[in-house]
Amino acid sequence: MKLKNLSALFTFALLLGACSSGPSNHTQGIYMLIDTSGTYTKEVDKAQQVINYTLAKLQSNDTFVVASINTGSFSEKNIIAKMTLDDRPSKANQQKRLFKQNIDDYVTKIKSSSYTDISGGILQATDYLTEKDNGKKTIFIFSDLKEELKKGYVRDIPFNLKGVRVVALNVTKLKSDNIDPREYMDRVTLWSKKVESSGGSWLIINDLEHLNKILVQD
């Protein structure tokens, strides 16, 4: 009789377990790429604000990575800070504090790079986010979107951005854009086509107040 009861309890527990969906379905993974090339380094303060805002919005089990875009961005070395938040809110808060500290340290010793390898950064981000099985995957590109590759770097590789949102933040206008705005428009169109043809969705947010829409948890 007791054995029967125990088995019934076990079956019930199994059913409950089957009903429960893992944390991945409701979590989000954000990979933020920060352009550190040329004059765009000056915009790093804004990037810091975005990071802080994102940190404030993240929930338990969410993943957040911040990486730099420089001459060769397809590398783990470019990752400035990364974390997957703990299940417990108190522990998650500690992780957020530590993350912020890492970013603050990085900002103080940031170095400007000569080239801008955005594609490499996106490839690295896709690679990372695919590995982490988050329900919602987002790549933030904090850049003016002007890619300048060093000679010899091959980046005409198709991305695999299925189920990934790519959000370009703070896409500043260059001096040449002011002379001929078509350059800016072409740049933006090029990236949106690249992303959408790879199965991803494309969005531009220049007013950082609109970032809230992206980070609202499902």
């Binding site: 409950l16 009903c19 429960s20 969906s21 893992g22 944390p23 379905n25 409701h26 979590t27 802080n52 805002y53 940190l55 404030a56 929930q59 338990s60 089990n61 969410d62 299940d87 417990r88 809110p89 108190s90 998650a92 808060n93 957020k96 504090r97 912020k100």
Partner: protein, 479 residues
Amino acid sequence: MSLPPSMILIEGLPGLSLIIWFIIFSIGLYMMRTASHQAISAGSRMLYRIFRLTSRSIIQTKDRVKVRNKEVLIANAKEANEHMIEREFDRIENAVKKDLASYPALQHKISETITTIDEEYQKSAEIPPAPPGWVAAIEPIASIKSEGDPMVGNILTSIQNGLVKGQDKALAQYRQSSKKRHDILKRIAPKWRVVQKGLSEVDSRVKSILDRSKSIDRHMEDYENLVRAKDKGQHALSSSSLTQFFIAGFVLIIAIGGAMINFNLIARPMQEMVGGSNYMMGFKVSDIAALVIILVEISMGLFLMESLRITRLFPVIGALNDKIRFRMVIVSFVFLLLLASIEAGLAYMRELLSQDDAALMSSLTSSVTARVESSAAWITTASQMGMGFVLPFALTFIAIPLESFIHSFRTVFGVVVVAFLHFLAFLSRFTGSFILGFGKLLINLYDLVIFLPLWVESLIQGKKLSHIMPVLAKDKKEK
């Protein structure tokens, strides 16, 4: 609007084609007139009968539901009345037990006092000592006149003195005896008061039992009315159920508000225990856990109320013997106390988490960490903890309105079902009558459409009649 090409009979004259078609259709319809009329009439009558039958069956169902409602209502009222009578008997039993326990002592005291009074009274009735008997013997001697004889005078004086002394002594003795009797009577007075007090105590106890018996009489009368199934009583019961339903519903809504506050107090800190990102059937596990805790508290409250025999939702608990029931009261109360303590702890943790969140937000939004220490922060913490501790106990009392709600819901639901069935029966009857009328209207409309052949028919019939009528008149005349 134009005719489709296939229907145009004469090229270029669609109007004429339309008229021809109309005539063809009219003739066709005229030819089918009788059959169509019969079909429409039979169809509408059939539907009318079906709807009438449906209506009748709904009314029968309604009557059955009504009877059932009546039974439920009476059963509920009977149960409530029995409950009341039982309570009254319990009270009488307690009163009798309490009073009769002290009654022998009281009776003993009263009879003892009465015996003492009797004895005292006997004592008080003692006859005072009579004056000495020689007084009567001496009196004739004392009345002899001395007539100047000094010796006789001396004897008489001494006799008189002796007599006076004797009288004084007797008087003194009499006074002393009277004083003694008065003292005895004085001692009796407080004892009388004791007897009076004892008797009034008996009187008040008997009176309280009599009052209770009057209350029982009243309940019994109600009960008898119910058994006799008097309509007046049933109407009163029905309206009382409705009132109970709304009052209990209102209190339950308030209780749900309390439960929601309780939920918000513990849902966030629950994330610390079961994790903040696990989902079950689309809901956060931490939320489910918080809800389960509240539901367990409510269940414990129900058991507590049931064990205390305040509510009667579970007859099994009510039927338990007093010893087990008492144990159940203690167990459910202890569980409730533990859960309330856990909630108070969680509420405290919630406050800590909120402070931590606020500090983090502050550090994220400004470069300098601003730390504002509020001296009144402890009030929030204490309030949250207090609410966390008190709310589970407050939720215990949900059991009372819940019981009323469930009992009155049966009646109210029955009344609603009866009203609905009544409406359905009316609708069915109405539809049946409408279809019958519509059938008649359809027959008339049919005739309206074929007015042309009908007109021709009436013309022909008119001619026939004008031929026949003189012949008929002639026949009549001849006859």
